[in-house]
C-alpha cells in the first residue's frame, strides 16, 4: 500500500542538507525501505521506495542519483550472472486505498545510470494480491539459494501473511505452477538469507513512518528448508508471530527496517537497513549499515566502530600490539608479602605516563611487535576517524596512533608494519577496521607503498605470537583477527 512511502521518500530525497556525523553513513544517505546493497560499475547502489535510490563510490559516503522506474515501494536487487534483477512492489489501490499489491521484476546490465549498458527491461509481474486475501503483495526480498541455484522471493506486509514464491533465475519470471506459501504473519519488509545449512527469514516488526517514535525492529527465524517452518530461538513459528531480535534502536537512531545482507569477504558481512530516524539528522530516515555477527547460529547486528583508546590484542595469542621500545619499569615501595603491615594505609600507584617513557623512545620510525599486555603507554592506541579520507561499507578510514602522540601505525613497502613519527594522512597510515562475523576484527591498511590502488587483500597479521606483519586475510586463521579492548 503504499504511496505514503513514496511521498516520504520523495521528501527525503528532495532534501539536500548534509549534516555529517562520524559513524553514520556520510553524505546524504536519505532513504526509506532500502534494497540490499549491490555493487555495479565499481560503485554501490541501494534503491528505496519511490523511484530513486542512493549511490556510493566507496560504500561510506552516499548520495542520491540511483534510478529505478515504476515507482512503488521497497525494492530488492540481486546480481545473477552479469545482470541485475530489480524487484519492486507496485501498489494497485495506491494511496493507501487497497491491498491489491503487485510484485514486478526487471533486468538491467548495469545499475549505474552513467553506464552505456544502463537500460531496464519491461517489468514482469510475478505475484499479486487481490485486495481481499490475507496478503498485500509488496515488500519483496529475494534469495538465490547457494546450494542449488533456485531463486526464492518472500513478500507481504502486516496485512495478512508473508508469502514465499519461486522465481526462475534465468528469466526473473515466476516458476510455472508455483503456488505461493504462507511462511509468517505480523511482519513486513522480509528478506531471506542462507548460511551454514539454515535458511533465515528476517522480518520487520513494529511501526514505521513515525519519525523518532517509530518502533520498527528486525527479527528472524530459521529453517532447514527454504519453505519453512521458520522457527525462532524459543521454538516459536513465525507463522505464530515468533522472531528473535536482530537489531532494534541504537545510539541516536531508531526504527531499523528492511534488512539486507552483503557478504564482503569470508567472515566479513554487513547488514543494511534504514533507520526511521537519525537523531543527528533532524530525525530523517537514513541508510544504516552495521557489521553482521553470527552468534550460535543466529544473526545479530554488531555496533559501529567507536573512536577511542584501545589495547589491540591478537586473537592468536592475546598479545597486544606495541611499540618495539624499552620496557620501562615502574617504581613501587615493596615489602615481602609476608611482611606487609595491615595497619598501613593503602596507596594508589599512578599509571605509567607517556612523559615518563617518551624520552626513551627513538625518533623516526619505530617498529611494532606484539607483547603481553602491561597497561603501558607504548601499548595504547588512540583510534580516530579520518572522514576526509573516505571509507568503505560500514566505516570511514581510521588513524591508529600511540595515545597522546602523533605517532601512527603505517604499512611499509616491504609488506611489514611500523609506526611513523608524524601522521600525514597518507594512505599507508589509514586503516580499515571491520568487525568479523565472530565478533573479532580485521585491520587493513588502505594502501601499501609500492602497490597500486586500494588494498582489500592484506591485513594486520600475527605471523608469530609477537610478530605482526601484513599478510593475506584468511578468516579461517586467528592470525588475521584482532580485538579492541578499551583502555580508557
Amino acid at each position: 500500500m503504499n504511496l505514503y512511502k513514496i511521498s516520504l521518500t520523495a521528501f527525503l530525497l528532495a532534501s539536500a542538507v548534509s549534516i555529517n556525523k562520524a559513524f553514520a553513513q556520510a553524505g546524504q544517505p536519505y532513504i526509506h525501505d532500502p534494497s540490499t546493497i549491490a555493487e555495479s560499475n565499481g560503485k554501490y547502489f541501494t534503491f528505496g521506495t519511490g523511484g530513486g535510490g542512493l549511490i556510493s563510490e566507496d560504500g561510506w559516503s552516499w548520495h542520491g542519483g540511483a534510478e529505478r522506474p515504476g515507482g512503488g515501494a521497497a525494492p530488492d536487487v540481486i546480481k545473477i550472472g552479469d545482470r541485475y534483477l530489480v524487484i519492486y512492489g507496485a501498489t494497485g489501490g495506491g494511496l493507501g486505498g487497497g491491498h491489491n499489491g503487485r510484485i514486478l521484476t526487471m533486468w538491467n546490465k548495469s545499475l549505474d545510470p552513467k553506464s552505456p549498458d544502463f537500460k531496464y527491461t519491461e517489468p514482469i509481474e510475478v505475484a499479486s494480491s487481490d485486495g481481499l486475501e490475507d496478503c498485500d503483495a509488496i515488500d519483496p526480498g529475494v534469495l538465490l539459494d547457494p546450494t542449488d541455484g533456485r531463486m526464492w522471493l518472500s513478500y507481504g506486509t502486516y496485512f495478512g501473511n508473508i508469502r514465499l514464491i519461486e522465481l526462475d533465475p534465468k528469466t526473473g519470471e515466476r516458476v510455472k505452477g508455483n503456488k505461493e506459501l504462507d511462511i509468517a504473519i505480523d511482519c513486513e519488509a522480509t528478506d531471506l538469507i542462507y548460511r551454514d545449512g539454515y535458511y533465515y527469514l528476517l522480518g520487520t516488526h513494529g511501526t514505521c513512518c513515525d519519525g523518532v517514535n517509530s518502533t520498527y525492529n528486525i527479527v528472524c527465524g530459521r529453517s532447514k528448508k527454504v519453505t519453512g517452518p521458520y522457527i525462532d530461538n524459543v521454538g516459536r513459528d513465525m507463522k505464530n508471530g515468533g522472531g528473535k531480535m536482530v537489531i532494534a534502536a541504537g545510539k541516536r537512531v531508531c526504527g531499523p527496517g528492511h534488512f539486507g545482507r552483503t557478504i564482503i569477504d569470508e567472515g566479513v558481512e554487513i547488514m543494511s537497513c534504514h533507520f526511521e530516524a537519525d537523531f543527528d539528522r533532524s530525525g530523517r530516515s537514513v541508510l544504516g549499515i552495521r557489521p553482521l555477527l553470527w552468534r550460535n547460529g543466529w544473526p545479530v547486528a554488531g555496533e559501529s566502530f567507536k573512536e577511542g583508546t584501545y589495547q589491540i590484542a591478537s586473537e592468536r595469542r592475546g598479545y597486544s600490539l606495541e611499540l618495539a621500545v624499552d620496557f620501562v619499569r615502574m617504581n613501587q615501595e615493596r615489602a615481602a608479602w609476608h611482611r606487609i603491615d595491615l595497619n598501613e594505609p593503602l596507596k594508589q600507584i599512578p599509571n605509567q605516563t607517556l612523559d615518563e617513557v617518551k624520552q626513551t623512545w627513538p625518533s623516526g620510525n619505530i617498529d611494532v611487535r606484539a607483547g603481553d599486555y602491561m597497561y603501558r603507554p607504548h601499548q595504547h592506541w588512540t583510534i580516530v576517524a579520518v572522514p576526509e579520507a573516505g571509507g568503505y561499507l560500514s566505516n570511514p578510514y581510521f588513524a591508529i596512533k600511540i595515545s597522546g602522540t602523533d605517532r601512527a601505525l603505517a604499512s611499509t613497502k616491504d609488506m611489514e608494519v611500523t609506526t611513523e613519527e608524524k601522521f600525514t594522512g597518507a594512505d599507508n597510515q589509514l586503516w580499515r577496521i571491520e568487525q568479523l562475523t565472530d565478533g573479532t576484527f580485521r585491520i587493513m591498511p588502505k594502501a601499501i607503498p609500492g602497490k597500486d590502488g586500494v588494498n582489500t587483500e592484506y591485513c594486520l597479521y600475527s605471523v608469530a605470537d609477537s610478530t605482526p606483519t601484513l599478510a593475506k586475510y584468511d578468516f579461517k586463521s586467528d592470525n588475521s583477527k584482532w580485538n579492541f579492548i578499551s583502555a580508557e
Partner: protein
C-alpha cells in the same frame, strides 16, 4: 499497524471501490470530469445526495466533492471529501449547489473549478480552489469567485500552445480566454453560436490532432432529455461546427447526462452518468465509463452505454457478471435488495440455456483450481463455465434458497485474459448468481457457528470458542495514542456491562451504537476479529472489541497463566478480576504476554477480553499454560 502518520491517515481517509458500470458503488456521483495526472486517472464528479433540507427528493442537492482515482479503471480509490460548501468563503454554506466541477494542473499546482451559489444574490458563480498535490490534497478556495462569470459547469481547456480557456454553461455555452494564473478571464466571454437549437449545458472541450472538440449535453427534442453531442473547430473559441451525437438519450429516462472525454494509456474514454442506483429519482446519479473511438477523419463514433464498462477484471475477485457484456437464453438481471440498491445486482438464470458473458477477466495465477459462485437456488444445477476456449462443468447442490458462497474444485483454470461465459446447463429450479470468482483454493472461512453446546481447547490449548460483540467504532487513527494510561482509561470506559452471559444475536447499545453478540468458533488458533468485521460488514479499523467465553473445569486448576497475543492492545479478566493487560502497539504473537499465576476454579469460569486497535488487522490468541509452559487442555468451553 505499520503505516502510522501519513499512511494511516491515508488509509482512513480513502476507501477502495471496485466496480464496472456504475464505477462508484459507495455513493451517488454525477457530472464526472476525468483527468490524467502523473500516470494516474483522477475523477472529479459532483456528489449527489438526497437533500437534507426541504423539498426532499425533488431537486439536485450537492454539498461537497469527493475525489477518486485509479490506475486500471477497475479499482477506484475514494480519497474522501476534497471541498465542501461551508469551506467556500463566497459560497452559501447551505446552498447544496456544488455542481459539476473540473480540475487542471499547471506548474505543479492543481486548480479545482466549481460552481456554487453565492452568499448574496441568485444564480451561480464559478470558483477556484488550489492544492499543491493530489497525494494529500488540501484545496484552498479563493476568497472570491471568478469575476465576470455567471453560470455552472466549468471546463478548462489547456491547449498545446499553452493557452487556457474557460467554458461554462449559462444560458447556452460560453467561452472566455483565461489569464495565465487561471484565476480570471481575459476579454469578453463569447457565446458559442451556430449549434443546433435546444438546451445545452455541461461543456467539455478538448484538443486532439490540432482540432478542438466542444462536447456537451443537449436536449435535441422538445420535452426531450439530454443526449451528448459535439462540435469541432480549428480554434479554441470557435466557430464550432456541429458534428453529431456521442451518446443518445437514456433509455430509462434519466433526464440529465454529463460527461468528459480523456485519453489514458492509449485509449480514449467517455465518462458519463446515469441513475442506476436510483431508478425512481433521476437527480441521484452514478458515474459510468465506456471506451470511445474516433474515426480516421477525427469524428467521434457513437458510444453505446454498457454495464460491463471498461478495464480488465481480476478473476480472483468477485466478478460481477450482472455487469455483463452480453446476455441471452432468458437470463436477466435485477437488484439484489430493492431496499438497498447500492448492494448492486444479481443475474437470474430461470432455466437451462440461460447465459451471460463477461469480457476480459484476468486469471493471474497458474494454479487456480477453484470456482466460487455466490449463488442462491432451491435445487441442483449444472453450470458450464467457459474461459475463452476452456470449458468446465460446475455441478452445484441446492443452497436451500439462501445466498451462499459455493466452491467447486475444477481442473487448472487457464492463466491470462479471456472472456468468461456462464451458462446454465441444467437445473431443477431457477438459480440466481451474485458473482463469480476464480481462485487457487476456496477462500478461508474464519469462523463457524458452534455445532455443540461445548467445545474443547485445541491441541495447543488455544481457546477458539467465543461470544464476540460487534466492534464499537472508535476515533483511533493510529496506535500511537495507546499509552498505558489511555488504555487503562479506555478499557475501563468501554467494557460492556454484563449481568449475564450474552445470547447469540443479542444486541446491546454501546456509545449510541447498536451492536450484536455472535457465538462463534474460530477455524484458526487466532481469532481473526478483522475478518469477523469483514464478514458482517462492520468497521475493520479504529475498533474496540468485547469478547467473552466460559471455561468449565471438572476440578480446581491452580498455578496456571493466561497467555495471550493480540493485535493491538488488550485486557483480560478472569471471573471479573483483571489478570492481564497487553499495552502499547502490539502484534498477534503467540504467548506475547501472560498473567501472573491464577487459579481456574471447579465449574464455570468467565473469561473476558477487550481488544482495541487503530489501523491493524485485529486478532488475538488465548490459552492457559502451566508452570512449564505446557498448554492446559482439561476443560471445556461454552458460550453459556
Amino acid at each position: 499497524m505499520k503505516k502510522i502518520l501519513i499512511p494511516v491517515l491515508a488509509v482512513l481517509a480513502s476507501t477502495a471501490v471496485r466496480a464496472q458500470n456504475p464505477i462508484i458503488t459507495n455513493q451517488f456521483t454525477a457530472d464526472p470530469t476525468a483527468r490524467v495526472f502523473n500516470g494516474r486517472l483522477y475523477l472529479f464528479p459532483s456528489h449527489d445526495i438526497i437533500s437534507p433540507v426541504e423539498p426532499k427528493k425533488k431537486w439536485f442537492s450537492m454539498a461537497d466533492y469527493h475525489m477518486f482515482s485509479s490506475t486500471d479503471l477497475t479499482e477506484w480509490t475514494d480519497h474522501g471529501i476534497i471541498l465542501s460548501q461551508e469551506q467556500v468563503p463566497w459560497g452559501k454554506p447551505d446552498g447544496y449547489s456544488m455542481w459539476a466541477p473540473d480540475c487542471v494542473e499547471k506548474d505543479g499546482k492543481y486548480y479545482f473549478f466549481f460552481p456554487d451559489a453565492p452568499k448574496e444574490g441568485r444564480g451561480f458563480n464559478i470558483g477556484v480552489a488550489i492544492a499543491n498535490n493530489l497525494f494529500w490534497p488540501k484545496f484552498e478556495p479563493q476568497q472570491k469567485p471568478i469575476e465576470g462569470v455567471m453560470g455552472i459547469d466549468p471546463c478548462v481547456l489547456q491547449t498545446s500552445k499553452g493557452e487556457s480557456y474557460l467554458f461554462w454553461g449559462g444560458g447556452g455555452l460560453v467561452v472566455a480566454k483565461m489569464s495565465d494564473d487561471l484565476l480570471s478571464i481575459e476579454g469578453k466571454p463569447q457565446r458559442i453560436a451556430n449549434l443546433p437549437e435546444g438546451f445545452k449545458e455541461g461543456p467539455f472541450a478538448f484538443e486532439r490532432n490540432g482540432k478542438f472538440y466542444l462536447t456537451y449535453p443537449w436536449v435535441r427534442e422538445k420535452d426531450g432529455t439530454e443526449c451528448l453531442a459535439y462540435a469541432m473547430s480549428d480554434n479554441p473559441m470557435g466557430p464550432y461546427e456541429y458534428k453529431g451525437l456521442i451518446m443518445k438519450e437514456s433509455k430509462t429516462g434519466c433526464w440529465t447526462n454529463h460527461h468528459s472525454i480523456v485519453e489514458f494509456n492509449n485509449q480514449w474514454y467517455l465518462f458519463y452518468h446515469h441513475n442506476d442506483y436510483s431508478p425512481s429519482f433521476d437527480k441521484n446519479r452514478s458515474v459510468c465509463v465506456d471506451s470511445l473511438f474516433f474515426n480516421a477523419d477525427g469524428t467521434i463514433q457513437e458510444v453505446i452505454p454498457t454495464l460491463r464498462g471498461v478495464g480488465v477484471s481480476d478473476a480472483r475477485k468477485p466478478v460481477q457478471i450482472d455487469r455483463y457484456s452480453e446476455i441471452g437464453g432468458g437470463a436477466s438481471i435485477d437488484y439484489l435488495d430493492k431496499k438497498n440498491l447500492f448492494l448492486g445486482w444479481k443475474t437470474l438464470f430461470p432455466s437451462a440455456g440461460a447465459w451471460v458473458r463477461y469480457n476480459k477477466v484476468n486469471m493471474k495465477s497458474s494454479c487456480a483450481k477453484n470456482v466460487c459462485l455466490r449463488m442462491k437456488s432451491s435445487g441442483k444445477a449444472v453450470f458450464t463455465l467457459s474461459l475463452g476456449g476452456f470449458k468446465t462443468d460446475l455441478a452445484v447442490e441446492s443452497t436451500g434458497d439462501k445466498w451462499e458462497d459455493v466452491n467447486i474444485e475444477t481442473r487448472t483454470l487457464p492463466e491470462g485474459i479471456s472472456d468468461m461465459t456462464l451458462t446454465l446447463k441444467s437445473a431443477d429450479a431457477p438459480v440466481e448468481v451474485d458473482w463469480v470468482s476464480l481462485t487457487n483454493d476456496p477462500r478461508p472461512v474464519y469462523f463457524k457457528k458452534p455445532a455443540e453446546a461445548k467445545s474443547t481447547p485445541d491441541a495447543d490449548g488455544f481457546i477458539r470458542r467465543w461470544s464476540i460483540l460487534e466492534p464499537e467504532k472508535m476515533d483511533i487513527r493510529s496506535n500511537v495514542v495507546f499509552t498505558d494510561s489511555y488504555l487503562k482509561e479506555t478499557f475501563a470506559k468501554h467494557i460492556v456491562p454484563m449481568k449475564k452471559l450474552p445470547a447469540d444475536k443479542q444486541t446491546t447499545v454501546v456509545s449510541g451504537q447498536k451492536l450484536m453478540w455472535h457465538h462463534l468458533e474460530s477455524n484458526s488458533y487466532n481469532n481473526k476479529l478483522f475478518r469477523f468485521s469483514t464478514m458482517l460488514g462492520k468497521p475493520e479499523y479504529g475498533v474496540f472489541f468485547n469478547v467473552v467465553t466460559v471455561i468449565n473445569c471438572a476440578e480446581d486448576i491452580d498455578n496456571v497463566r493466561l497467555a495471550v497475543g493480540s493485535n493491538g492492545a488488550s485486557q483480560w479478566l478472569l471471573n471479573n478480576s483483571e489478570i492481564l493487560t497487553l499495552t502499547g502497539d502490539r502484534r498477534m504473537v503467540k504467548d506475547d504476554g501472560t498473567s501472573k499465576r491464577v487459579s481456574l476454579k471447579k465449574g464455570a469460569n468467565i473469561l473476558r477480553g477487550m481488544i482495541i486497535n487503530g489501523p491493524g488487522m485485529s486478532d488475538f490468541c488465548v490459552r492457559f499454560i502451566d508452570e512449564s509452559g505446557n498448554p492446559i487442555t482439561n476443560f471445556t468451553i461454552s458460550n453459556k
